[in-house]
């Protein structure tokens, strides 16, 4: 038995943490760090890419809207507004697109191991959130250093708007990831919807430019528009083209916020409802 004698013969087992919450939190952390790491290993520029993409989009949009179409004319803060919006939008679209595959793409795990399935979605969102947090910090620090931020009391709401964005993204992720298991053309549908949202949320132009009141109200009711508009307003000096959401749609501002929470609730319900069918359907 000389072969067996190699290496140690036993491993003393470890007691798992009593708290299931702690176990789940730990698994979320491991999975999100892994996917964050894997996303950037093997590429020469690594993490830089996740910054280059929104910056390229910013460059193009700035060129098209500000210089060619002169959309932000008379608004010196337009580039900063554009940058903040694009970073937030990039998070929204990348997080939801990745989450779509969080369940369907992990069929092997789901068929062969037990853990709460929502962990896959939360981990995918957390991984996107890491990139978003770094990008946002960079943008805020740089713009602040350049004196482009206008911090006032209303800036205190900024964390809340970011929180709303995260809640909305998580809700959509739960919804999309569970439905995608059963309806594979959801990927295409969501791509188109994202495009509609991109223009309907005034990511690259001030929402004020929408002249039709009906359309403005309609656009303003969507949470993405509200979040982006409010972020801009809370961080950058107000100008003729930069209004608070309240001044645009009045008391209706409640609607997008409630909608964000409702989307989360719906996502939670649908996900829970479909969870028992995942293992058999993948």
């Amino acid at each position: 038995m000389s072969v067996v004698a190699q290496g140690s013969g036993t491993i003393d087992a470890i007691q798992r943490p009593k708290s299931v919450f702690q176990r789940n939190l730990n698994l979320v952390r491991e999975l999100s760090i892994t996917s964050f790491k894997l996303k950037y290993t093997g590429s020469a520029l690594g993490y830089v890419w996740s910054l280059v993409k929104p910056l390229m989009l910013f460059g193009i949009m700035y060129l098209v809207f500000s210089i060619l179409l002169r959309v932000g004319k008379g608004d010196t803060d337009f580039p900063v507004q554009l940058l903040i919006a694009i970073v937030a939008w990039t998070f929204f679209t990348e997080a939801t697109a990745t989450a779509m595959n969080a369940v369907a793409g992990n069929g092997d795990l789901i068929r062969k191991a037990y853990f709460p399935r929502w962990i896959l979605v939360v981990a995918s969102t957390t991984s996107a959130l890491l990139t978003f947090a770094i990008n946002t910090t960079l943008v805020l620090v740089v713009t602040f250093a350049l004196g482009d931020l206008h911090l006032t009391l209303r800036s205190l709401f900024v964390p809340l708007f970011y929180l709303e964005l995260i809640v909305l993204v998580l809700g959509l992720s739960l919804l999309l990831s569970s439905l995608f298991v059963f309806f594979r053309d959801l990927g295409h549908i969501w791509e188109i919807l994202s495009l509609v949202l991109f223009y309907g949320s005034g990511v690259v132009f001030p929402l004020m430019l929408i002249k039709s009141h009906t359309l403005l109200d309609l656009a303003g009711l969507n949470p993405v528009a509200q979040i982006i508009q409010d972020l801009r307003y809370s961080l950058v000096v107000s100008s003729p083209l930069n209004h608070s959401m309240v001044s645009l749609i009045g008391a209706l501002e409640v609607v997008p916020i409630v909608l964000s929470i409702a989307v989360f609730g719906l996502g939670f319900l649908v996900f829970n409802r479909l969870t028992p069918k995942f293992a058999e359907s993948l």
Binding site: M1, I14, R16, P17, E30, L109, F183, E280
Partner: protein
């Protein structure tokens, strides 16, 4: 004391859609036609308890419901009725290395695999060296998992899997992999678990290891427990069942061998399209004479380009006794896939069948060169019958040669025999 596992009136049915409708487009264009299903009953009213400290084996033919039971026990599937309750912490190895990522290093995979078990990074930090020592992989800690051989991956996976303290250990045929010396280590671990009073459930086809390790074995067939008792008794019952089944299916069977149960295991990277037995005149048949030519004709469909692979065959007596088995690797023949969608035809010809009268089972399998990744296999039910024209007895025709010499002047009775 409460039993560690309580299973009561457990029922599970799978609805297999006859038409795959995972797109909205399909739902929209076919909204009027109600979806058609085929019901597959995996478990019908299964009840049993496992007391603490028992080493329980579960066996049965493919598709008998044992894997479904395990998945319900591990909360992967949801039961349609009844319940399966585990009292205490449990670790399930339905497959080793679940959650491992080939792009990560061995060390990183320990943290990932450990997290899947419910262990935290801080706890695992102190264990990493111990894991590598046990797995005999100390010098490969910073190597990416994709560069590991399948044996090394299994060793790492097993070493991580046993890290978590557990009351119940559930295993699904994981022992079929790994080299002999490491398997010994695995069994040492299980023996230790047993001494420590842990409960173990082992699902296996390997009657020998069931008899060796299990206190009690459950035999499943068609979603029901058909035998429950000491290992030796139940494995005997299983062999009788296989034999009966083989004899029953031998009558009025189609000339094409059955593909086996659709729920059989295998990754299907390469799949059997058909398995036939052909006689000397090229006819597909299941009846042969002793001494006649038999060709086992297998048509394979390559789904994934796997490179070199191995195609093997075995012949068993109806009661499961292995009479002969070989594969392309052993016989030093290289079979390779080149592209997905490719058809490969493999034939094994026996010029003169040495088997005597009786019913026999043919089993075929395709797997990778190391034998750890089974792509597909076709299992019992694939029987053929041999007619014996001569008067030989036994299972094989011994092809010996008699020689008799007689000399005139020797006293009567002294006859020399020479065997060829």
């Amino acid at each position: 004391m409460n039993p560690v596992v309580e299973v009561s009136h457990l029922r599970k049915r799978f609805r297999l859609p006859l038409d795959k409708s995972t797109t909205l487009k399909y739902r929209v264009t076919h909204w009027r036609s109600s979806s058609r299903y085929r019901d597959l009953i995996a478990l019908r009213d299964v009840s049993f308890d496992i007391p603490q400290g028992q080493f329980l084996g579960i066996t049965g033919p493919n598709g008998c419901g044992k894997s479904t039971l395990l998945k319900i026990l591990c909360r992967i599937y949801k039961a349609d009725g009844g319940y399966a309750r585990v009292n205490g912490e449990f670790s399930a190895f339905l497959e080793l290395g679940v959650g491992f990522n080939p792009e990560l290093t061995a060390r990183e995979n320990i943290f990932l695999g450990g997290a899947m078990l419910g262990l935290t990074r801080a706890q695992l930090h102190d264990k990493v060296d111990e894991v590598f020592a046990f797995a005999e992989l100390e010098e490969f800690a910073e190597q990416k998992l994709k560069n590991f051989s399948s044996g090394m991956q299994v060793r790492l996976a097993f070493s991580v899997a046993i890290l978590a303290e557990t009351d119940l250990l559930v295993m699904d045929e994981v022992l079929a992999v790994g080299d002999a010396s490491f398997q010994e280590k695995c069994f040492d671990t299980f023996s230790r678990y047993k001494r420590e009073g842990k409960t173990i459930v082992l699902v296996s086809h390997d009657l020998n290891s069931l008899e060796e390790y299990c206190d009690r074995v459950l035999l499943f067939n068609r979603g029901e427990i058909v035998a429950d008792g000491p290992a030796a008794e139940v494995t005997n019952a299983y062999q009788r069942m296989v034999a009966d089944h083989a004899l029953a299916s031998e009558r009025d069977q189609p000339s094409e061998l059955s593909r086996g149960d659709p729920s059989q295991w295998g990754s299907r990277a390469v799949e059997f399209l058909s398995v036939r037995l052909i006689d000397a005149s090229g006819q597909t048949t299941r009846r042969f004479d002793t001494g006649s030519q038999v060709t086992l004709d297998m048509k394979l469909l390559v789904h994934r380009d796997v490179g070199d692979f191995v195609c093997g065959m075995a012949i068993r007596r109806a009661d499961g006794l292995l009479l002969a088995g070989t594969n392309t690797f052993v016989d030093q023949l290289t079979v390779s896939s080149h592209s997905p969608g490719e058809m490969v035809s493999v034939r094994y010809t026996i010029d003169s069948l040495p088997l005597l009268a009786g019913g026999y089972i043919v089993q075929v399998a395709v797997h990778d060169v190391s034998g750890s990744d089974i792509y597909d296999h076709a299992d019992p039910g694939a029987t053929f019958h041999v007619n014996n024209l001569g008067g030989h007895g036994g299972i094989v025709e011994m092809r010996g040669r008699w020689e008799v010499e007689q000399e005139r002047d020797v006293p009567t009775g002294a006859v020399r025999q020479t065997a060829g």
